[in-house]
């Protein structure tokens, strides 16, 4: 059995400030697997924005944190067609297989990236693709499925039930998941051989000493706050959190405020600006200090396959409040005993009041969260699982 592999990581975007959770995961895996002696290369596109898919970065080779990154131009993106078929999919209207393929190609496709994989397939031991919902992954994985690993970052969404993804999941050499709930969902929807499926996740480690006081001082924050971190968009329920917090402030006399950090536009009216602070994108050190200075962390999204921000806030020792309709984050809360979950506004309000009225239990939940992350999501553990998963996959498929 080969001890060190040459791995190509394939993801739609790879640039500082342009990444979502899947891209973050791929970047961390590529760099840390390189440190373990494996050879890492990244194949990606010239796009930075996942809504316009404009070729903003130059094509060709660059080195990012010591990793060779090859960028290829996006050759097809048709917003009109994407929305036309996308609406039908969301409303459960059946599409033919050809229409499904038209839709996935309209989302984002790169012919030159696929050509590169085709021409250089034998130079790499493995291709790791993430996430599943892009033409780059769908078309790229078809070239050498037996040596392709899919990291789907799957949610229970209408797109997951398309016919084209049945093949993608069943033909992949391996399918690696971020959480037990995501894995269970995939096994419910797709025919995946157990031998080719495993849970890996991502390591969550502190960048250094946390300094919550200096963070409060720097940003002149003197009230306790509920924190939201991540992309601010409808799919993440950021608007819903703001509306819930508006009701909470209207009906409960507390000085708790809402603090937002992350990328994306957020619209706040005059009333909301009185109790909401938007810090936008923060550098790594300040992000961690922001977690540490918060009272409670809230993850309102129902579309999570792992939730890096939830685990980061736990690593900083803060309790969490999550959406009960997201199986992944709810499952994290139950396994860690580190947070509560809400189904509607009334439960949201009551959970927040519980946190505020029971500081000892609240601290204990934060502590439980911290231990959960320390025990299961150190990089050492994660990379051991990743290597073990690759070994298991290669044993069942082929010997590298």
């Amino acid at each position: 059995m080969k001890q060190h592999w040459k791995i190509a990581y394939v993801c739609p975007r790879y640039a500082a400030g342009a990444a979502g959770g899947a891209e973050n995961l791929i970047q961390s895996w590529a760099e840390r697997m390189r440190d373990r002696g494996h050879r890492s290369e990244v194949l990606t596109t010239c796009a930075r924005d996942h809504t316009t898919w404009k070729n903003e970065l130059p094509p060709g080779e660059v080195t990012v944190n010591g990793i060779k990154v090859r960028r290829f131009e996006i050759t097809s993106h048709d917003r009109e067609k994407q929305d036309f078929f996308g609406e039908k999919i969301i409303h459960g209207q059946p599409l033919t297989r050809a229409q499904e393929e038209e839709w996935i190609d309209a989302v984002a496709r790169s012919e030159s990236l696929c050509d590169f994989i085709d021409q250089h397939r034998d130079e790499f031991d493995l291709f790791i693709f993430a996430p599943y919902l892009f033409g780059i992954t769908y078309r790229g994985m078809k070239i050498a499925p037996e040596r392709s690993i899919l990291v789907p970052c799957l949610h229970d969404e209408p797109y997951a039930y398309l016919k084209i993804f049945q093949d993608l999941f069943s033909q992949a050499g391996g399918v690696f998941f971020n959480s037990a709930s995501e894995q269970a969902l995939a096994h419910r929807i797709f025919a995946i051989d157990r031998e080719r499926s495993c849970r890996v996740g991502m390591g969550i480690e502190l960048p250094g000493q946390l300094r919550p006081e200096s963070f409060r001082e720097k940003f002149a924050i003197d009230s306790p706050y509920l924190l939201y971190a991540g992309r601010r968009e409808g799919g993440k329920n950021t608007g819903l959190l703001i509306e819930y917090f508006r009701l909470f402030k209207q009906h409960q006399g507390t000085d708790l405020k809402l603090l937002l950090m992350g990328t994306g536009d957020v619209s706040l009216d005059q009333e909301a600006r009185r109790w909401t602070r938007d810090l936008g994108y923060l550098p790594v050190e300040e992000k961690w200090n922001c977690y540490a200075a918060s009272e409670i962390f809230c993850q309102p999204s129902t579309n999570e396959s792992f939730s890096i921000v939830l685990l980061e806030s736990w690593r900083a020792g803060k309790p969490a409040l999550v959406n009960a309709f997201c199986p992944v984050t709810r499952d994290h809360c139950l396994r860690s005993q580190g947070g509560l979950y809400f189904r509607d506004y009334y439960e949201f309000e009551e959970c927040l009041l519980y946190f505020l009225d029971h500081p000892d239990r609240t601290n204990l939940m934060g502590e439980n969260g911290r231990r959960y992350v320390e025990k299961n999501f150190t990089w050492e553990e994660v990379l051991d699982r990743l290597e073990e998963g690759i070994n298991k996959m290669t044993k069942s498929n082929f010997e590298l």
Binding site: G234, T302, Y341, D344, E347, N376, E388
Partner: protein
């Protein structure tokens, strides 16, 4: 085996018990009418976005639809927050309510009747298609076995 982790043994907090208490407290507040002052329309519109993509969300609303449909037509406690003019204010509010009730009761009861029918239809349709889907899935299972 590394893949079997993702567990932690903790003590001191039982999240499920806390959540049971949270739900009991919500029910208690609902019974005492505290939530009647809340205007959830803004939040509800955003919650509806999830309906299209989440079965669990839809199931929850189907279960709780009766709670919203069953409008309480009975008398509620009329009170005044002001101590000085409290008694006359309460008397005046009671008179106004009695006068209004005479005219609005019919409207409310028609609305309640409509709500009840709509809730029944929605739940009935859901149950009907649930049964049909289960039968089809069973049939597919048999066909696959054959």
């Amino acid at each position: 085996m590394k893949n079997e982790v993702f567990e932690i043994n903790t003590s001191g907090v039982d999240v499920e018990t806390i959540m049971e208490r949270v739900c009991e407290r919500v029910e208690e507040k609902r019974r005492t009418g505290i939530y009647e002052r809340y205007n959830l329309s803004g939040a509800l519109a955003l919650e509806m976005n999830n309906l299209r993509s989440d079965d669990a969300y839809l199931n929850y609303y189907l279960k709780t639809i009766w709670r919203a449909a069953d409008v309480d037509l009975g008398d509620f406690e009329i009170y005044s927050k002001t101590f000085l003019i409290g008694r006359p204010a309460v008397w005046l509010k009671k008179v106004i309510w009695k006068l209004l009730k005479f005219y609005t009761f019919r409207l409310f009861s028609q609305q309640k009747d409509y709500n009840a029918r709509m809730a029944s239809i929605v739940q009935g349709l859901d149950a009907k298609y649930e049964r049909r889907l289960a039968a089809l899935e069973e049939k597919i299972g048999h066909l696959r076995q054959d």
